[in-house]
């Protein structure tokens, strides 16, 4: 398996959802930056690669680095750096499937917290 992140194959052209940074509300942009940095650290990927992630970029099940132990590390690191608590029930396939899903989840948690 190669170590390239799995994307939808299209260029990272701005769409309404993934436009960065000007199209994002400040808080969403800040969370986006923070989440990319955490993924970078956990996956050991270049920040340039993680910069290319869009909302449809596959995570769990797509990135070979992201096994259950790594997901656990990822969530614990998100808790630490974003000052949120992630409950058992929060963790489902949808939130981990794509970068967009994880970002939406993180955003909701930060607002909730």
């Amino acid at each position: 398996m190669d170590r390239e992140p799995v994307t939808d194959g299209t260029e990272n052209t701005p769409t309404e959802d993934s436009e960065a940074p000007s199209g994002l509300a400040p808080s969403r942009h800040a969370i986006d930056v923070q989440l990319r940095s955490i993924l970078c650290d956990v996956l050991g990927l270049d920040s340039d690669d993680v910069e290319q992630f869009d909302n449809d970029t596959g995570l769990f099940g797509h990135l070979p680095e992201l096994d259950s132990m790594a997901v656990a590390g990822l969530l614990t690191e998100m808790e630490d750096r974003m000052d949120i608590i992630i409950e058992d029930d929060d963790v489902d396939g949808e939130m981990l499937e794509t970068y967009g899903g994880l970002l939406t989840f993180a955003e909701a948690k930060v607002i909730e917290g």
Binding site: V42, L66, M69, A72, G73
Partner: protein, 228 residues
């Protein structure tokens, strides 16, 4: 030069166990005992830890990385070990290797014997370490179609011990780690995180090494020791 030594580690039930230690030992004056990270983090950081020791060797400092009973090459069962017995192990290792200084890595900070000056790299307690391991287990269970919750697993671990990410932890060790936050230390200085470039390698999904980080950690120790 890197070599391996056998040393007698005390066991919780009395007696000792011959354990291995990775050493850079030339009988020099400055002798650093290294207390490793625990479990999965130990695997991810072992190479990095030895890289730091190698650099210290080149700076004229001896160092010793003992296996804790139940860990690494040890033939002892992990589930029989306790936090207290590991602390005694650390005290015994410091004595056996005539350590003058100490470096703890991550949760190794929990085992630091009092009295030795030194450093802590990215210290943290057992609570978060276990939270990650408990969570890994719930995620793996869910993938396999079983429902497990962190709260239930925590209760099981405290009562009967538990296997987490392949590590069989006894009830005493599990409980003690669960209740351990990052300890305070008066004799050990924390290596500032901004002095070590990049993210901690324990976060990575795979073991790795980072020469710049090893350089930074070794330099902080070597410079401080050259001034002492």
């Amino acid at each position: 030069m890197r070599s391996f030594a056998q040393w007698p580690a005390p066991l919780s039930g009395g007696g000792t166990s011959e354990e291995q230690a990775l050493t850079f030992n030339q009988g020099r004056e400055q002798r650093l005992l290294v207390l490793p990270a625990l479990f999965d983090e130990a695997n991810k950081l072992r190479r990095q830890t030895v890289e730091v020791m190698h650099r210290l060797d080149l700076s004229g400092i001896d160092s010793f990385l003992p296996d804790l009973p139940g860990c690494n090459e040890s033939a002892q069962p992990l589930e029989a070990q306790t936090l207290e017995s590991w602390r005694e192990t650390a005290v015994a290792a410091a004595k056996y290797f005539d350590a003058t200084h100490l470096l703890t890595i991550r949760s190794g900070a929990l085992l630091a014997p009092g009295g030795l000056p030194g450093w802590r790299y990215a210290p943290h307690g057992g609570k978060q370490l276990l939270r990650s391991m408990l969570r890994a287990r719930t995620i793996a269970a869910r993938e396999a179609g079983r429902e497990e919750t962190i709260a239930d697993l925590d209760a099981t671990g405290r009562a009967d011990g538990i296997e987490l990410a392949g590590w069989q932890l006894g009830a005493e060790l599990f409980s003690a780690l669960s209740d351990s936050k990052t300890p305070a230390s008066e004799t050990l200085a924390d290596i500032p995180s901004d002095a070590v470039p990049g993210a901690g390698l324990w976060l990575r999904a795979e073991p790795d090494e980072d020469p710049e980080q090893s350089d930074a950690i070794a330099a902080i120790i070597a410079i401080a020791l050259s001034e002492s």
